[in-house]
Symmetry: C2
Subunit: 186 residues, 2 copies
DNA sequence: ATTGACAAACCGTCCAGACGGTATCTTAAT
DNA sequence: ATTAAGATACCGTCTGGACGGTTTGTCAAT
């Protein structure tokens, strides 16, 4: 911050703002709403300015993806640090994060974005890699059928939250979570 | 067929062909690949011809959605007819259909389409309605936490199949299915 | 003769990206 | 401490193409 004080241009803030706005637009207007014009204008930057930070649209989308997975990874690591049991540790952390998503208002913005990102071929592949890498990293502790099933169920719940298709009340949610945690231990 | 025989133009076939091609394009090129130009050209029809069958693009997407849910409903009904146990009957039928998806080569084409459809705001709402309607219809038999959980897990597996993120081998798949069926009964 | 099923040309809009330019910041030599 | 030199962070405009949709034309079947 000491630097920021005598620094009038703060490119990192602009970059963050652009990502923020892009995520918000995808939430409010769907994937089609994320155009260079719309993003730059809503972020109070010219299109040239946007393209300075992200040389093309794909770079912007990749930036969103990076931001998303980074946050996800941090949240998961945080949860894993507080779990003494090795077996299914990653799965339980994953469960925690997914179950927390609905309550975190900030996180909601990212949920719909995920769907939008998944509809892009290249980003779908990146997502695949993310999953594969994590499955690989925790193959020793989290590859039992129970763990896999628990994570699948979490994904299903996450999808339902996005679509608001079911509304699961809080007691039911907690009951489900308990059952999935039990699965992760078996 | 008797009509088609002495009829050179077969509008119903063209319509089917258009939907087929649109689904294929979304699989091969992502949602962005489904343009009126691309669909009509790949279907061997002029753009005017396409717009004769579907007055605008949304109508085409709605047509895809209708086709998809129709097939889904038929498959589910078929499965439900062969299940003597009332409790969780819908959930088990849902499981059967989802687990069968990966084997059915024809069905694969529709999987990615689903994601593409979900990225469209209006179609997401239609999907929400479909889910809500079915949850409502079978509220007496399929609203237990076990059933809900089983369906969530099926959705997660379906997502994993689409992304090819995990490759679950056949024995594991069957074990998971058995476990989910058990959940649907509890 | 009318109509349904297309084809072909065309229109207006939107959008990704290029480009030329300007303001601001950093570095380092003086 | 000043300042020249270059890098970085933007801005505003333009363009070529894509895309959704319209209009008009054609032709076979009824």
């Amino acid at each position: 911050m000491s630097i920021a004080h005598h620094r009038r241009k703060q490119p990192e803030l602009v970059r963050q703002q652009l990502l923020e706005v892009a995520a918000r637009l995808s939430l409010e207007q769907g994937a089609a709403g994320v155009t260079l014009d719309a993003v730059s204008q809503a972020a109070g930057v010219s299109k040239g300015g946007l393209l300075h930070h992200f040389p093309n649209k794909m770079a912007l989308l990749n930036g969103l993806f990076d931001d998303l997975t980074e946050k996800l990874d941090r949240a998961i690591e945080e949860e894993m640090r507080n779990d003494p049991v090795a077996h299914g540790r990653f799965t339980r952390a994953y469960l925690s994060v997914v179950f927390a998503l609905e309550e975190d208002a900030d996180a909601q913005r990212w949920q719909v974005l995920t769907i939008a990102l998944l509809s892009e071929l290249q980003l779908r592949e990146r997502w695949r890699l993310w999953v594969a890498d994590h499955a690989d990293e925790f193959v020793g502790t989290d590859s039992s059928p129970g763990c896999l099933l628990a994570r699948f169920a979490a994904d299903g719940l996450w999808l339902a939250d996005i679509l608001k298709s079911h509304d699961v009340d809080q007691p039911m949610r907690q009951a489900m979570r308990a059952q999935l945690v039990a699965l992760s231990l078996q």
